[in-house]
């Protein structure tokens, strides 16, 4: 299939908690395990990416079972919120996921914008206390974009690849492996495509040094 045509599409790096009406084109990198919600729906957390970075998206039921790694998908009218400290994309009412191609899209796996962020975890708790729909009461259903509060996708499992050794540091680490910023490899050796050992220094994720006052994702402040 051909690569998607370029238009003024939103990039993953611009997604913030509470973002709505998101139209994003991304490529699917990994599909997580299926989990079942209390009301019998299936949810999968998928890692998707575009040239600006990667993010988790939660997909319900049949669509989730159809998505394959390598699929190029156009999300329309999606939204984003925090689920257990991780920024996550969702398809809302009136939204859609459409496969428009496969394989032929460049992406950057880093930064992973869905990395667990302790500040965001506490931010989520603050929102609960403020009287908006309680996270636990909404435990069974996908988040509604009107309330802005996340609901657990089933048993509350974190996106499985948050701790993936390939690309993401364990939570709390401050540096990402710099797959995207290697530049000219200087020690070329025949191989099966493993990246050169000389990884350049990565921009620090700066997670632990910013205090939140307005509910904005602190990582955004640095970029």
């Amino acid at each position: 299939m051909a690569a998607p045509t370029t238009e003024a599409v939103f990039l993953i790096k611009d997604v913030k908690p509470g973002s709505k009406n998101l139209n994003i084109v991304f490529i699917v990198l990994e599909i997580g395990r299926v989990t079942k919600t209390k009301d019998g729906h299936e949810v999968r957390s998928c890692k998707v990416a575009d040239k600006s970075g990667s993010i988790a998206i939660s997909v319900w039921d049949e669509l989730g079972s159809l998505i394959q790694p390598g699929d190029i998908i156009k999300l329309t009218r999606g939204y984003a919120s925090i689920w257990k400290g991780c920024l996550t994309l969702y398809t809302g009412r009136g939204g859609d996921l459409q496969k428009i191609g496969e394989f032929c899209m460049v992406y950057s796996e880093v930064p992973n914008f869905s990395e667990p962020n302790p500040e965001l975890l506490s931010q989520g708790n603050q929102q609960n206390k403020s009287g908006k729909s309680d996270q636990n009461q909404r435990g069974n259903s996908p988040p509604n974009q009107n309330s802005g509060t996340p609901a657990p996708p089933g048993n509350g499992a974190m996106p499985p690849f948050a701790n993936n050794n390939n690309n993401n540091p364990p939570p709390g680490a401050s540096r990402d492996p710099a797959f995207g910023s290697i530049g000219r490899p200087n020690g070329r050796s025949p191989g099966n495509g493993a990246p050169p050992a000389t990884a350049a220094g990565a921009p620090a994720a700066a997670k632990s040094s910013v205090t939140i006052s307005n509910g904005r994702d602190p990582r955004r402040a640095k970029r």
């Binding site: 299939m1 051909a2 690569a3 990198l29 729906h41 319900w60 039921d61 049949e62 669509l63 159809l66 998505i67 790694p69 390598g70 699929d71 998908i73 156009k74 398809t91 809302g92 009412r93 009136g94 939204g95 859609d96 996921l97 459409q98 496969k99 428009i100 394989f103 032929c104 460049v106 909404r138 259903s141 996908p142 509604n144 609901a151 797959f179 995207g180 290697i182 530049g183 000219r184 490899p185 070329r188 025949p190 191989g191 099966n192 495509g193 493993a194 990246p195 050169p196």
Partner: protein, 375 residues
């Protein structure tokens, strides 16, 4: 609160699609043309319908195209009406079927993998009909059809395609003999496919393929020579088959038997093989993905693409023979510009390294990547 209700998307008649797939523009266009044809002919007798269609195509190029594409699509999607629709198509067509041939090429190059079973069968049927009526440009379509036969693939769909196209070539031999390029391409294709068809249940098919290749080699050797030195490689890989062994004997010791103008194997070895042949053994999808890797993917970022490609095309024991074709393609067809070569785009040696080292599970095939493998 419920998850967003799934938008019910009607399944098209041409392509396989799921709830996830975006609507296909080509399919939509073709189905619109069907609608036009049906609105023109609804409730009319055959004669009246034909008159209505003829009147419509005379109105202009657009109407001509719409009616022809509509009838063409009906041939693909309505097997019971195919004969009649094809006859109508030949009656109203005014451009020597050129528009239809272009559309067939497009479907073959872009949508073949996604065709539903009935349209795929009908498409091959239609190509056969076009060959029978000797439309100009049909040899090109047959060559594109040959390209859809995947190497290293013994699934029933692929075997069916290999046999169906072979049947066209056998059935329409007179027509085939008129096109030197088609002779060369089909010999190149089937000499290669013979290697995949060694299993006991495939020997009948293989014999058919051998018989076809032998007849081309012995009757039209100078056309087979168009292939160039890779013909030697192909013949080497099938040399243990008795009929092929006889060809080898003549090739080496009695070249004039094959053709008065053939001076010997050296003549063949000094003839370069065009990239066209190396490329014809990759399906369009394989080519698209490999070309993407060699032109857009940065060195260090290739792992996932490799995994996806491997999962799709290199995951069975039989598929290992495809590695040779892929490596040959990378070496002989992919020629990056200086700009790409001096960038950090995935270099060709890295792709070849991947193809070689991941075949370590099948050492027999590794040697065929470096040389020949006798069947």
């Amino acid at each position: 609160m419920e998850p967003a209700p799934a938008k019910a998307k009607p399944q098209g008649r041409l392509l396989v699609s799921t709830q996830l797939d975006a609507k296909d523009e080509l399919e939509e266009r073709l189905e619109r043309c069907v609608g036009i044809v049906q609105s023109l002919t609804n409730g009319l007798s055959e004669r009246e319908a034909n008159d209505a269609l003829t009147a419509n195509v005379c109105k202009g190029q657009q109407q001509h195209e719409e009616v022809c594409l509509g009838l063409f699509t009906l041939v693909l999607t309505e097997p019971t009406q195919a004969q009649r629709c094809y006859r109508d198509l030949t009656l109203v067509n005014r451009d020597g079927m050129n528009g239809i041939l272009v559309k067939i090429n497009q479907i073959l190059m872009e949508k073949f993998l996604k065709l539903q079973d009935a349209p795929r069968t009908q498409l091959v049927w239609l190509v056969r009909e076009l060959v029978k009526s000797s439309m100009m440009g049909t040899d090109g379509v047959v060559m594109t059809l040959l390209k859809q036969i995947a190497g290293g693939d013994i699934s029933s769909k692929n075997l069916w395609l290999a046999e169906s196209v072979l049947d066209i070539l056998l059935d329409q031999k007179e027509w085939v003999l008129k096109s030197g390029m088609l002779i060369a391409m089909s010999v190149y294709t089937y000499l290669r496919l013979i290697v995949d068809h060694g299993a006991p249940n495939l020997l009948t098919l293989r014999q058919k393929e051998v018989d076809f290749c032998i007849s081309m080699l012995r009757e039209k050797f100078m056309d087979c020579l168009i292939i160039g030195r890779d013909l030697v490689r192909l013949l080497q890989n099938v040399a243990r088959i008795p009929e092929m062994e006889l060809v080898w004997k003549d090739l080496l010791h009695n070249p004039q038997v094959l053709s008065p103008q053939f001076t010997g194997v050296l003549q063949l070895l000094t003839a370069r093989t065009s990239r066209k042949f190396l490329a014809c053994r990759l399906t369009p999808d394989m080519e698209t993905k490999l070309l993407f890797m060699t032109s857009r993917v940065r060195f260090g970022q290739q792992k996932r693409y490799q995994d996806w490609f491997q999962r799709q095309y290199l995951s069975t024991a039989e598929s290992q023979s495809l590695r040779c074709d892929l490596i040959r393609y990378i070496c002989g067809v992919v020629h990056p510009s200086n700009e790409v070569l001096s960038s950090d785009i995935l270099p060709r040696w890295a792709i070849i390294g991947w193809l070689l080292t991941t075949s370590a599970r099948c050492p027999a095939y590794l040697s065929s990547a470096c040389g020949g493998r006798s069947v």
